[in-house]
């Protein structure tokens, strides 16, 4: 019984970790390319979930159309946020960008509160596949689906970044935007694409998150958003494998501390990891140490 409980928690940790990974990728990719912590990123999770709620529950569209529309909504919104809020500030100081990002986050939350009120809505339960049975362990369909979808997306993203021209352009821009532009790369377009990919992943993460915790509210994105951000910092912000690694570590720590220590303390532990990391290795597990020339 002890072991099977541990395995259940392990599966749980993988799930939470894979959702954080999808969100953390958005933070880390945008940071890598635009040197910006996009605090509005967490709220795109909320937009994605409301999208599915609205298109599926309210408008009664077929499920797959509702999901595709919700993802598209986030992709377009992500690109718009970049165009309207961040692009005009590209040469401004980092602090202005950061404040704009926080403002953007509140704008999204307030707008959705205005549209849907602050009352939480019930997220539709649409996964009705059989659970997976391994001995006396039962793994729910939403659990293994979350994990499989996340892994699939992580692999696709890896191919995109490492082996295609868009990915090469993204890596080039993140290293030296000026030189990349002189090689014929459209920097604005590359940054837009990065925001779109990050936002699409956030939408999918939001939908998967709501399959596990089926309540939608305007502040839904805040907690998973900040935790994914911690995951990105833990792994080394700007690094894609780092974000994934950090997310799985964080998800596992959170779930295990909830299960074996105290559910009240689990967030304390998670946030302590951030503080300890920032004290001892601010560049993160896989991040590069930036040596400043004196």
């Amino acid at each position: 019984m002890e072991l099977s409980q541990f395995i259940m928690q392990f599966v749980n940790g993988l799930n939470v970790g894979s959702i954080y990974a999808l969100i953390a990728l958005g933070y880390t990719m945008v940071y890598g390319i635009a040197k910006l912590i996009n605090f509005a990123h967490g709220d795109l999770i909320m937009v994605g979930s409301y999208g599915v709620f609205y298109f599926y529950t309210v408008l009664k569209l077929p499920l797959w159309i509702a999901i595709v529309l919700a993802i598209l909504l986030c992709v377009i919104l992500g690109a718009l946020i970049e165009k309207i809020a961040y692009k005009p500030l590209r040469k401004a100081s980092k602090i202005s960008l950061l404040i704009t990002a926080i403002g953007m986050s509140y704008l999204l939350q307030s707008t959705f509160q205005l549209i849907f009120t602050a009352n939480p809505k019930v997220f539709p339960n649409f996964i009705n596949l059989p659970a997976l049975k391994l001995g006396d362990i039962l793994i729910g369909a939403n659990y293994y689906l979350t994990f499989l979808i996340s892994i699939f997306l992580l692999i696709a993203l890896n191919i995109l970044v490492k082996h295609t021209k868009v990915g090469r352009a993204m890596r080039a821009v993140s290293q030296d935007a000026g030189a990349a532009q002189l090689m014929g790369i459209d920097v604005d377009k590359t940054i837009s694409i990065t925001f779109m990919i990050g936002s699409g992943l956030a939408a999918i993460a939001g939908i998967l998150y709501c399959c596990l915790y089926p309540v939608v509210s305007p502040y839904l994105g805040a907690v998973p958003g900040i935790k994914a951000f911690i995951a990105a910092v833990l792994g080394g912000i700007g690094s894609i494998p780092g974000a994934v690694l950090g997310a799985f570590i964080l998800g596992m720590v959170e779930v295990m501390s909830k299960a074996y220590l105290s559910s009240a303390l689990s967030d304390t532990i998670v946030f302590s990891i951030l503080i300890i990391m920032l004290i001892f290795k601010p560049s993160g597990i896989l991040g590069k140490n930036l040596k400043e020339k004196v």
Partner: protein
């Protein structure tokens, strides 16, 4: 036939007139040297030609197309590639990826075809990879294809920059002090390679260089800049015997 025609080009940095009434004609396949003392405005010319700076006045015509006012990525796609005085490779990427980024605008497969690794993607990546390796071979860099750019020696990094610039199939190649920091033997080797590139790629080359042996060795024509103005220009022999040039370089 003229490939680049620059007329009356000027730029101010605040109150400083960095470049004034600059003019330059480059014919197809020509190799021209741009020389002058430090601070004369040579790199400023490169930055204006590639759209890094926008000219205060004047016009730049590349292959019958006016290019001033365009962004640098558009100019690169129309056909000007460059190297940098202080190396600006993508240090964390492989040597091969650096060259492939130089070819960026020549790729045609779409986003979806790339992620799904469809036939068009595979075919094109393969052709481009062979092309890139062939280019790397000019400097015998092909053996380092999978190395990180930052792991190459200084001289090799300079050469990789030239390969990356060539990868975009430019009509005009701008080399900013390609021999800086090289020893005399390496410089002679580089000289021969530049000559070879000019002939086999039929590309026009504009070269900034302080090493006069290299400039006189391969350039057919020379333009001399001093205090942002063209001091002298024309055939190599005429320019080096120009009294004004001698005055600027050696003093009276």
């Amino acid at each position: 036939m003229s490939i680049l025609s620059v007329k009356n080009l000027g730029i101010n940095f605040g109150g400083l007139r960095a470049l004034d009434k600059f003019h330059l004609e480059i014919n197809k396949g020509e190799l021209i040297g741009l020389i002058g003392p430090n601070g004369a405005g040579k790199t400023t010319v490169f930055n204006l030609l590639t759209g890094v700076y926008q000219a205060s006045e004047g016009e730049i015509i590349l292959d019958n197309q006016k290019i001033n006012g365009l962004s640098s990525d558009k100019i690169a796609r129309i056909g000007i590639s460059r190297t940098f005085q202080n190396i600006r490779l993508f240090q964390n990427l492989s040597v091969l990826d650096n060259v492939k980024i130089g070819m960026h605008s020549k790729y045609e497969y779409s986003f979806i075809e790339g992620i799904l690794k469809l036939k068009k993607y595979k075919l094109e990546e393969k052709i481009k990879e062979e092309e890139a390796l062939k280019l790397l071979k000019i400097f015998n860099l092909d053996v380092f294809a999978s190395y990180k750019a930052s792991s190459l020696s200084y001289g090799k990094q300079r050469e990789l920059e030239i390969v990356r610039a060539l990868a975009g199939k430019p009509k005009l190649l701008l080399l900013d002090e390609p021999a800086a920091g090289m020893n005399p033997n390496e410089t002679i080797e580089l000289m021969n390679t530049i000559k070879k590139i000019q002939e086999s790629f039929e590309v026009a080359i504009l070269l900034i260089e302080h090493d006069m042996k290299l400039v006189l060795g391969i350039c057919e024509k020379i333009t001399v800049l001093n205090y942002g103005r063209v001091l002298s220009c024309g055939k190599k022999d005429d320019v080096i015997n120009d009294k004004e040039v001698i005055k600027a370089y050696l003093g009276e």
